[in-house]
Symmetry: C2
Subunit: 633 residues, 2 copies
């Protein structure tokens, strides 16, 4: 693995030097978790998004939306984000410094394990191991508090390791228990920490001059798509399945942003919401991808405490029910094809299934595309089955029907529970609440009716909850029995399969995967982006500042641009060699040099970035080569 | 003018029906000033942005950035937005309803003028005029309060008209005076209104878990570009002039959003910051645009109370100093070329110069590209000379030098005021403030030194302000005299020319300019977008649901996409005629129909949107026609 020899500091230096991105407001001291993308990073991101749009939106005729970032309180209350989109934080009881609770537990336990390792190494006189411990990541270690070489008992060490393995999945109470049990204190000061408190991760604001309408910056682009479901279905001529898509900014007010672009407070996402019949999750184009081989890490394997991946075709994975259905499988394959197209290395890409306790509040199944970086395996794309959760809650809250109505070719006779209200007793008994109780009862699902019927039979009464108040319903109030209904139209709430892309994370992983240093010259960085995403496709270099080159620069750059080749002219006074080196660092695949021979016979030199190979030909022929190399979109 | 016969309600209906855009959160009741863009509107916007990027960023090798929306308090305090980016609001003293002060004055005075007109018309028995008054805009009138037919005195009417003509330019105090003078009350209730109060238009939030770091959603993308000036200059190999650019979302918490996309709370902007030597605002490519003819409405003409425009070449306008310099002229011409390229009508586009009292706090000169719509002439692009304002204030606040250092070919000898501190008296006199006072004095401009010298000579002392505290400096503390300095390097703060595009406004204006109804059929709307921005370039129509067409749909749509033609398949059961009509409403320039003959000989029918002309040829030839028509980017 590249991990061991990977010099992250050198890459970070290159990223800032060539202005891929850099901390925002830096002349004001900066604020953690905010980054500005420079000309190279911005072009790289635009190109990634452009490939994404071609690959997903255009190729599959998805319905792209552009909805607002500002979102009202009521929408996000309904979606569950106001109540559940939170992390746990705790405070240094003396100096008030704030930590994310899971991060502080992680940091302290990792430091203790490192100390244990160090103590054992010293005892065994294993100098190499000791050095390795110290080298591992000196910066990180320092931040995480002092490593003290103390040997741990075997049982304690095991407990620490088990805790760390599940660190993403603890509730606030569990974190509090762990902190107490292991005496977790601030790694900076050693002071005691407060009990973890919930902190909602949404930035809030208020809309309009009265300040009474609360709003949040969206934490995902998905809600804007769900709210438009009815319009989208109509736009699609009521045909199912279909997908909407959106690219845009989202926000998370992280407690302690870290790891560069991997955990930031403002970021660009690309999300697809594929609406599908819950009774038929086959995908019409599954056949096109069934032979794609992907690397899987399933739930079962992880539950058995292992991380061994398996390579198999998507077809096989769906057939064996490792991946639940064709639609989920289809998107996993399409994600794989997209990521490898833009330059993510195949052998550093895997799909990991979420375990039940780590899924977001809305998901029923979820596979992450994880990309390997120097930070370990990083979730870059989530592919979740959100079931009918979002459409159901918004529909319930707004009383707007968010359903598909399907004309049945042959009417269906369905046996189901049927409820009848006894109007005579109902009104007098519930008085002003009668209507609300009736509505609540009528909105029950078949399963609920079955339970109600059982309760009534067993106890003579059952409880019904209406807006938080519980009412008792007795046998005399309602009649409930099995009956048949003939349906001509089938009405259903679609399920949603959601591939959700963190563009900044993908971009960072791509930088790591593309970067290398020429063996013959330690100082020469190269970023080997595929042409399709390279910030600039071609660089135009006049040999010197001699005016005779000017008309050629002007003519060639216009012709390159007109052929769709984004071009940057570098007419600085640096030597050609230095300018080639600069272009290697910008990841520009081609450089065209104009020299005195060009003035005579219209030929130019083409230099290829990775091989440094050079050929000479007429500009027209060179243009053809450059143009065609970008046509692999 | 199209104004009179323009049926805006019909266009708005079309916009929602074909989901160009629609109110956000509508199933929750909606909130004024927020719109979601649907598949057509989103594609239209993406295409406008794509043309913009080609026309400006790629063609001129601008440095595109992508900076954060969330911006810290300190940055926007320095830029002046915290103090000055505000509107005036007033409250109905009884029911608390909030109005924008200038809007309420406008509404009430317009209603009184309408009442006056009505009364006169009635008196003169001019029935037609009366009807016209009532018809004018019934919806708008209703919102603005009841029009009562009361005749006004000639002098009063004149005062009202004069006030309305300058309604955009009043200060809070002036608005208060006008409201008192004309007894302006709530148009809804007739209740008294509060004195206008300032309301800052930025959405605020706080960053991080402590809640102590205040942030705002940016009101413009420009500040993010200024903060990165140093990095940009370095990236550009220290060469001047150069431009940065940014496309992104900005926010304004409008008091009372109105007029659809024209005044919203969240919107997409595209901004260019062109950094230029203040002593030389010539533009190297001015020659390319000097013959472009544009329509101008200069400051002088407006000051004389007229609105007569003049057509002239940009070259002439710059030569006659109507437009101040080549760079400003260059961008005005480029803006003109961009807007007409995407389909804005030439005869409904003008450039209006701002009068001195209507410019933003940072601008020294400003020309708006105004587009004529049913709402009148609307500012869609501002082209302002921000001088050195922003770089200067950020530099002063952060102590970071935001300057260009230019190596002089021949050293310059400059005569200027020079200040010497008398160290002997200075320290003892100012004690702990000595350093701050010294720094303040040393940062003076030449003009300030001149004034200081005069004051010292006249009064023997002068005052110096340091962070709000005033110190007295006497003749003994400093020596100030003319002297010469030899400079080898010229250091200067660049000026900024800023073309700033409101993409939503341009998009709305384009919808108005593109819309027409076929004469032979009142119900048939057409949106004649140029191919380059049309949401979908081509529609693929199988004659019926017959399975024999499926392989052709699949094959042709892939070939179209691979040729860069965005394609939408319409295989709904509607007749071909109805599907053509639908495509006219989506603004799709081409439709390709697959029928039984296609299956036999691979020929298809191509139908052109505007002419409805049809031709039949092989798919390959048709593809060539469609492809080439989109190549005019």
């Amino acid at each position: 693995m590249a991990q061991k020899t990977f010099d992250r500091a050198a890459l970070e230096q290159l990223i800032v030097k060539r202005f891929f991105y850099a901390p925002s407001f830096q002349i004001y001291g900066g604020v953690a978790g905010f980054y500005d993308f420079g000309p190279t990073g911005c072009a790289l991101m635009n190109n990634i998004i452009s490939v994404w749009r071609n690959h997903f939106v255009l190729e599959e005729e998805m319905l792209e939306l552009d909805t607002t970032i500002m979102t009202t309180h009521e929408v996000l209350k309904t979606s569950g984000h106001v109540d559940k989109f939170a992390d746990w934080m705790c405070k240094d009881l003396k100096n008030g410094e704030i930590f994310r609770a899971d991060h502080v537990v992680e940091a302290v336990l990792e430091a203790r394990l490192a100390g244990d390792y160090q103590a054992r190494a010293a005892k065994e006189g294993n100098a190499e191991a000791q050095v390795l411990v110290e080298k591992k990541d000196p910066k990180k270690k320092k931040k995480k508090g002092t490593v003290v070489a103390v040997e741990l008992e075997e049982a304690v060490r095991k407990q620490y390791e088990e805790t760390l393995a599940q660190i993403d999945n603890y509730s606030g109470q569990e974190l509090a228990d762990i902190m107490k049990k292991f005496d977790i204190r601030s790694p900076e000061t050693g002071n005691e920490l407060s009990v973890p408190q919930e902190f909602n991760l949404m930035f809030d604001s208020s809309i309009g001059p009265t300040g009474q309408l609360k709003g949040y910056l969206r934490p995902e682009t998905a809600q804007g798509q769900f709210l438009n479901f009815k319009r989208l279905l109509e736009f699609n001529n009521d045909k199912m399945p279909f997908a909407s898509a959106q690219v845009g900014r989202s926000f998370r007010n992280e407690i302690s942003p870290r790891s560069g672009l991997l955990r930031v407070r403002e970021f660009t996402m690309a999300e697809i919401e594929h609406f599908v019949d819950p009774e038929n999750k086959d995908h019409p184009n599954f056949v096109d991808v069934k032979d794609v081989v992907i690397t899987l890490l399933s739930k079962d394997v992880q539950l058995s405490g292992k991380t061994q991946t398996r390579d198999m075709t998507v077809g096989e994975a769906v057939e064996k029910k490792i991946i639940d259905n064709q639609t989920l499988g289809y998107f996993i394959a399409r994600i794989y094809l997209f990521l490898t197209k833009i330059g993510i290395k195949r052998d550093r890409l895997r799909f990991r299934q979420h375990m039940d306790n780590e899924m977001a509040h809305y998901a029923t199944d979820c596979w992450d595309a994880e990309i390997h970086t120097s930070y370990g395996w990083i979730e870059c794309v989530g592919c979740a089955d959100r079931s009918a959760y979002d459409l159901t809650v918004h529909s319930r809250r707004t009383k707007e029907k968010l359903v598909v109505r399907e004309q049945l070719e042959t009417p269906r006779v369905i046996e189901q529970w049927q409820l009848e209200i006894n109007k005579k007793t109902f009104g007098p008994k519930y008085k002003k609440n009668a209507k609300a109780v009736e509505e609540a009862l009528l909105s029950y699902t078949d399963e609920c009716y079955e339970k109600l019927q059982k309760d009534l039979e067993t106890n003579g009464s059952a409880s019904v909850e209406v807006d938080g108040v519980t009412f008792e319903v007795s046998k005399d109030d309602v009649t409930i029995a099995r009956g048949t209904v003939t349906e001509h139209i089938r009405e259903y709430t679609p399920n949603v399969i959601e591939p959700s892309f963190g563009i900044g994370r993908i971009l960072y992983a791509l930088l790591e995967h593309s970067w290398w240093v020429r063996e013959d010259d330690e100082a020469r960085n190269v970023l080997s982006f595929p042409t399709v995403v390279a910030p600039f496709k071609c660089c135009l270099l006049p040999l010197s500042g001699n005016a005779c080159f000017d008309p050629f620069v002007k003519k060639f750059s216009r012709q390159l641009r007109q052929s769709g080749v984004s071009t940057r002219t570098d007419d600085s006074k640096a030597s050609i060699g230095r300018r080639y080196a600069r272009n290697d660092e910008l990841g520009t695949p081609f450089a065209i040099t104009i020299d005195f021979q060009t003035v005579e016979d219209n030929t130019v030199t083409l230099r290829q970035r990775d091989s440094t190979e050079q050929i000479r030909d007429t500009f027209e022929n060179i243009l053809k080569i450059v143009k065609e190399s970008g046509d692999d979109i």
